[in-house]
Symmetry: D2
């Protein structure tokens, strides 16, 4: 903990800060400069809020030295984590493509889509059975029936399954059908859900919330990791900004930043990141060029009649075109698709 005192801070003000640091178990080093006194607190203590010091009289600012996350930090596992789902490795040399519809709608739809994405080179089938929708009047998903259809379609085409779990009560059911459990952006800070997923022995794909900093994303991952589940895949899917032309602003720079701060693999979701089909291709290419370990892409065999997110779902031919482009780009970052 580093506490910078204001210019002209009085001796009693400085002493009050020192006393508080000591009472919290810190050893304090005092350094008196030309304009500012700086107090460095060293100790075993972790969970202290800088703001608690910043509201004290005479304090200019306070910085935490130690990162608030530990298990998620790159330092914990410098070599990086590779999440294995059968023979699919996320975080390895191959850029892993997860594709499929927003929602599972019926057997025909999920089968035709699964076939198309498998043929083009996807390794994992995505599809929602329980949908968190902004409006209570929107289609909310097929439920368990949808999960079963998803699993069967994936098996038929040699794909793994990733699908979103909305509630900790659903975890046992999902564990029967899915290879990777996805936590949606709206649930990134649903700590009950995260904690229970920490007790699971299946990979979790954790999406960044639209207002979450990268540090907060890593802290949410920490909730899962502290439970002993180390197979966490992060996902950048756009943050909320003032620009309204796209649904969100995809923070492509989060990809190299996460790579530096953490050992966890990170994939990108250009479908939710942009909300528009014609922007998905450029952003998918950009994510791979920036070093993403994989993509989560919405593809629908008939987007015009999709029950949700049709505008951001690729046509199967577009997806095949994208795969061709990615095969050109990946070698630029020492990867293959």
């Amino acid at each position: 903990m580093l506490v910078v005192m204001q210019e002209g801070a009085t001796e009693p003000q400085i002493q009050a800060v020192i006393d508080r640091l000591v009472s919290l178990g810190f050893t304090v080093h005092r350094s008196t400069g030309v304009r500012h006194t700086v107090l460095g607190g060293v100790g075993p203590v972790e969970d202290v809020e800088p703001a608690d010091f910043e509201v004290m009289e005479g304090v200019k600012e306070c910085h935490r030295i130690v990162s608030p996350y530990k298990l998620a930090s790159r330092h914990f596992r410098p070599g990086g984590t590779v999440v294995k789902v059968g023979d699919v490795e996320i975080g390895g040399v191959r850029v892993v493509i997860m594709a499929g519809p927003c929602s599972v709608e019926n057997e025909d739809q999920i089968n035709r889509t699964a076939e198309a994405v498998a043929r083009a080179g996807a390794a994992i089938l995505r599809g929602g059975a329980f949908k968190p929708r902004t409006s209570p009047y929107s289609f909310q998903g097929l439920g368990e029936k949808g999960l079963r259809m998803l699993r069967e379609a994936a098996d038929r085409h040699g794909l793994k399954v990733v699908t979103e779990v909305m509630d900790h009560e659903q975890i046992p059911m999902f564990a029967d059908y899915a290879d990777i459990l996805q936590v949606g952006a709206r649930n990134m800070q649903n700590y009950n859900l995260l904690r229970r997923l920490g007790g699971l022995r299946k990979p979790v794909l954790l999406k960044r919330g639209p207002a979450a900093t990268i540090e907060e994303l890593l802290l949410s991952a920490e909730y899962i990791l502290t439970g002993g589940n180390y197979d966490v895949i992060l996902c950048e899917r756009g943050i909320r900004t003032f620009e309204s032309y796209t649904r969100n602003t995809m923070d492509i720079s989060a990809i190299p930043v996460v790579k530096k701060l953490s050992h966890l693999p990170i994939v990108a979701d250009p479908s939710h990141g942009t909300g528009r089909r014609d922007k998905v291709l450029p952003m998918a290419r950009a994510a791979v060029a920036a070093g993403a370990d994989g993509l989560l892409v919405e593809v629908h065999c008939d987007p015009d009649h999709a029950l949700s997110d049709g505008a951001q779902s690729l046509w199967p031919e577009q997806f095949a075109e994208l795969m061709g482009q990615l095969r050109i780009i990946a070698p630029a970052v020492g990867r293959k698709v």
Copy 2:
């Protein structure tokens, strides 16, 4: 649904949009202008995404005419809603003050704080027993024991109780202890929780998420209202912006905007809105001056030793000072404190 075609859109492109509107059940009015053709779709259909049209060839933009929320709209109840909690009315002439610590820590702390806020004029005691914390290493609350302490302290000092419910499983337990169930900002789009609260017959205080638009806040309220629970109180508590001096940027203008769009009462939380004790007073005054129906303020009998959010908790004397200021301001908006 209003679809504006691009300049130079071709007749087949226009016809494709018309066909799609008709297939969705809309009656279509076509209006040909100097530069743009505009298609107006009128019909019983509600849940259509403008983006579905915006990705069609030749379309410039698409606007939804009908608001996506209905029960939450001002039009549904032009006179406004007054939520009654015993003899306390939220949305009436009196500005209702809810105050108390971030977390319930022990009997002495909650009692001393309850006594202080009651004496200064608060009507409702706030306090958390289950805490959603960004870090898994932070204090997570006393659980049900905390709820009991909170209830007893409130009863002893003639106060009502508001406290945050984190999970739908907890609702029955909370219903025994609380007068108002609070949904935290992180849970604003936890739809399972919202839906179950719609089945409850107790008031709900719904906080705006840090990245949520006002429209999304009203849609989340709609989830509760569609369940038949009309006693929803909204709460502005700061949105995330680029300015990092304060923890969040309190969107005071959301107060008059919500008042215009919706019949639901709205209160403000200047403690989370700013994160700093010395900013709570000015922002609390600002919220009341802007027309808030109430405040949610963190007060602690000993903020320096608070287990959470100490930096934003008021000293009891500060809270008393604030109440005095609010008594001066409220008449400017035809209210009293």
Copy 3:
């Protein structure tokens, strides 16, 4: 300068940082903790970028100890600055109201508006003669003719004049007509303009840019102060956020933050801050309740026919109503209107 090394930083990495600090003229204090080494650089040097250290190998983060602004800091003049314009004092006990139309349109309009705002209690007349407009096709102002009309209308009704200067070339002309020269939000970082205003001996009203942090606003003020012109009035007028219901999001909390960091007075512009007439009253009240030293409000004798910003201009009666409300609120913060 405080440099925090990463966990496991090597001795050569630490030494490289020390060498660089020394080469820049810093005296270095090294502090070795359980997990991190911290290097404190003390010295006469000011203009060093933390980022220059943060890209070095083994560095976790770097913090500047000394504020980048000096003359604008509260420490420079703890008692606060009162800007005097004749007998009007900005930063004193009285909350100063500056009101008038967005643009000067003709003699009748500016005169009728001046009369109305003077009668209701405004001290200063605002009005634009040179208008920075987002679109090249919008009304761009009357030019010098407008300045003359503004001056005459103000003199006739005992008001002072504040008006926006867009370019340093115009400064001499403006000095003839205006009592306060306003720098618009779009020009907050037009350094040539700021520097020349530093050489002027007239007060300057400096608006915060829509993407500017409070620190950047104070650094722009510093450009004027370093020229020897200490009569700078800051103005909060809304920042750009994801919420699009209002034109900008007014950051009311910037008012108490600036009051703490700087000695300069700060006023608020609820007209640009909201863009909607019906939101101007609540936000004007909120700003005064939060401690603003004054307001800049658009009032037009006939807003329906205004050539610019009609939607956010108050009717004269609304302005009079607002003044009545402010007279009730101001005593809550020890002020009068």
Copy 4:
């Protein structure tokens, strides 16, 4: 102009809107739906603010049909604009790389850097001689002497020159030294500067402001185009968001969006977009993968001793490495580097 009335809007309210539309020269089409009346205004009128209608009684919302920019729209020149600077074409098949130091510091520095970037394949040399700096205490550039050094270094290595002009007074001087005049992000809405550049017959590189929407960027371009200068190159360089790990958040999706809305070429500046050297490579690759027409990259022969922006300047070897990566990526979008 489309005006959507509120549910339950009264006939006099509807009539008032119609009257106002007619008085502004619009022909009005009225369409009465189940819940809402919609008024469509068609006419020769352009410069009307939707907000002017949105504040009228009974109005729910108002949308402008016609884009506020015309000459900058894709419709104006469907085939796209190629800006020619001698034999260098921006907007053609080749992705054009502009590279060089943030500031020109001395002859040796600019020469060595020019040599390095030319050898690696850059076509245009960048470098600042007049620097807009956030702090008045920072290095402000060498002035005209720097321009001369820049020109000479470019000529020596067969490069063109792009450099930032801060003020319209400087335009004649810059025209002697530069091939492309750059407008910095802080000046994106300096309309006097833009208008004078419209009278010039040299290409202009216009940077997006950190809080500017894409529409505002195109409106600023419109200021230049209306003057008859059609050689405008747009530049994405990061917008301001809540994420503070990077200096700005680079909005890569702006690249395909601009490509759709406008005929003007767009380049990306990953140096200012990220502020960190190690993030420049991934973001440069991402921009090209997303379809950028070129890059503006800071390269310095000795970044550790740069007088400005050293942390975001590439080492010459890093730049050469980047060029190799871009040569792999460009064919994926049908381009070459």
